[in-house]
């Protein structure tokens, strides 16, 4: 079962690489045009010779197969923007994004799960309505605007926190406190966007469990409210929430694209955006495929987690 899911994901990845390779060829400019723009001494003949030298005069399907062969050998090429091999440019970005996303996920869950549980205890109460409205607001608000508003408030008006970057660029750098200060606003932005869906999932799952016989039995045999809710209901209600979180882990490496761009956070999302905008074909291609691979892996992970936590469910 797991093998067939992996094979399927590999097929999607391969199809995606074909499509994206084709799309890259349709983007403005090509590598030789960029060379000509950078060096006025190049003549038209030079350009033609260079095209032949790099195989750019061949049809793109042939170039795609050659690229695929090189990737299979672990050769991803050179990044134009960073003037480094693609992997060396990408590794730090991966780490930065993982740090940002893990912190945001932690904050979002820490706020959303208690709210969802409390709201589920009295469906229809004023508190429930307030939480529901908050959840709607969270899924409806544009992330980049939240980021901008936080910058306006905390960086421009109050001057408490830095507006972007990962640390203060100064002699000696910033140290731990400075790095944490740089994380506050982007983490808050990302967390605010995530809270809504977790609250709704948690609340719905808790209400769904509340009607089951085992919960009524627990009440009937005289369990206290805290024990019924936390020991009985919550353990089962966490199942669907876990699946959503596992799916989220897949998006971990590209999901913060907008937030990273607003806050100039040097992560994967921003790397993909800048490489596409800056005609850095190798970097964009690898970044996009890595993001796809992670998303696919996340959905497999979600299925596995579900099956492990709930043995009644078997993979189709």
């Amino acid at each position: 079962m797991i093998l067939s899911r992996l094979l399927q994901s590999l097929a999607v990845l391969l199809a995606m690489s074909f499509v994206v390779y084709g799309l890259m060829g349709l983007m403005p400019g090509d590598p030789i045009d960029l060379m000509i723009a950078a060096d006025p001494h190049l003549t038209a003949e030079d350009a033609l010779r260079l095209k032949a030298l790099y195989g750019l005069d061949r049809p793109w399907t042939e170039r795609y197969l050659r690229w695929l062969g090189q990737v299979a050998q672990g050769e991803f090429g050179y990044s134009r923007l960073y003037a480094k091999p693609v992997w060396e440019a990408m590794l730090p970005a991966l780490g930065n994004t993982a740090l940002l996303m893990a912190a945001a996920l932690g904050v979002a869950l820490a706020v959303a799960l208690p709210l969802g549980i409390l709201a589920s205890l009295r469906p229809g109460s004023a508190f429930d309505h307030a939480v529901n409205l908050l959840a709607f607001a969270s899924v409806s608000v544009p992330t980049f605007w939240v980021g901008l508003m936080l910058i306006v408030l905390f960086a421009v008006q109050l001057g408490w926190l830095p507006a972007g970057g990962m640390e203060t660029v100064a002699a000696g750098g910033g140290g731990m406190g400075d790095r944490l200060a740089h994380m506050v606003l982007p983490v808050a932005t990302l967390a605010m966007a995530g809270i809504g869906q977790y609250v709704r999932q948690m609340r719905a799952a808790m209400i769904g469990e509340a009607g089951h016989d085992y919960v009524r039995t627990a009440w009937a045999k005289g369990c206290g409210p805290a024990r019924v809710v936390l020991n009985h209901q919550l353990r089962n209600a966490l199942l669907p929430v876990t699946t959503i979180v596992a799916l989220e882990v897949g998006g971990l490496f590209s999901g913060a694209l907008i937030t990273e761009t607003v806050f100039a956070w040097p992560g994967m999302g921003r790397l993909i955006y800048e490489s596409v905008m800056g005609n850095d074909f190798n970097l964009a291609l690898t970044g996009l495929l890595l993001a796809t691979a992670m998303t696919l892996l996340g959905s497999i992970l979600a299925d596995l987690a579900y099956r492990w936590l709930d043995p009644r469910v078997s993979l189709r």
């Binding site: 799309l23 349709l26 544009p142 980049f144 508003m149 306006v152 907008i258 996009l288 992670m294 998303t295």
Partner: protein, 280 residues
Amino acid sequence: MKPATLAAALLLAALAVLALAAPWIAPSPEALDLMARMAPPSAAHPLGTDELGRDILARLLHGGRVSLAVAGTTALLAALIGTAVGLWAGYHGGRADAILMRLTDGVMALPLLPLLIVLAAVDPAKLGLEPQAANSEAFAIGRIVAIIALVGWTTVARLVRAQTLSVKARDYVRAAVAVGATPGRIMLRHILPNVASPVVVATTLSVGNIILIESALSFLGLGIRPPLASWGNMLTGAMTAIHSAPQLALWPGLAIFLTVLAFNLLGDGLQNHFNPRAHT
């Protein structure tokens, strides 16, 4: 009807009227007044002016016109594709179903925003388009509609397929087959009306999402491009002036937020209306 649903519907109706009437209320969203850049609110400019001295209220109205037109068209197009795929896969089953659902799963598994960025960065000249046509307003709007619809049809396809599978086993469908109705007629006359309500709900909910995606792409410089106003690209301008004129970032974002919120509340209300039991 819940008060929230009613409020959402009224807000959207008001927005639609304002968007339609924008050319008469505020005729010149692109008029520059470089002497009055980033001016505070006044009688001539009720919300002030932006970093190029353009009237913010006029740009908000025209931006809303563009955003609503894009989101509405995209949602309809995506619903159309999704319904067609779902009906075909659900009704015919077998290999067609397997292939179409694998495709749906595949598209659903892709990282949405990075993919949209690559699609939006494609050079129209390399697709053989005349520069004249490529720079037209209609192309700018059509392009963003097309790329979002291309990845946005999957939710509806799944819903319609599931619903079709259950409806096609009903007696009235089997009766229609028995009297010799063609598959096309059965799908359109007998199955489609019975799968319509979840499609309406999903489409309403998707409009909000599409506005968010369009504004994000426009904000990144890849959606609706200046001088044409959109709520997203107004925020791009606001971001560059964030230290000198932080007030510019307020209105376009608020407009996006309220519109998306209204569509989500309306979709939620419709869901309760069509299927009161499904909601806890």
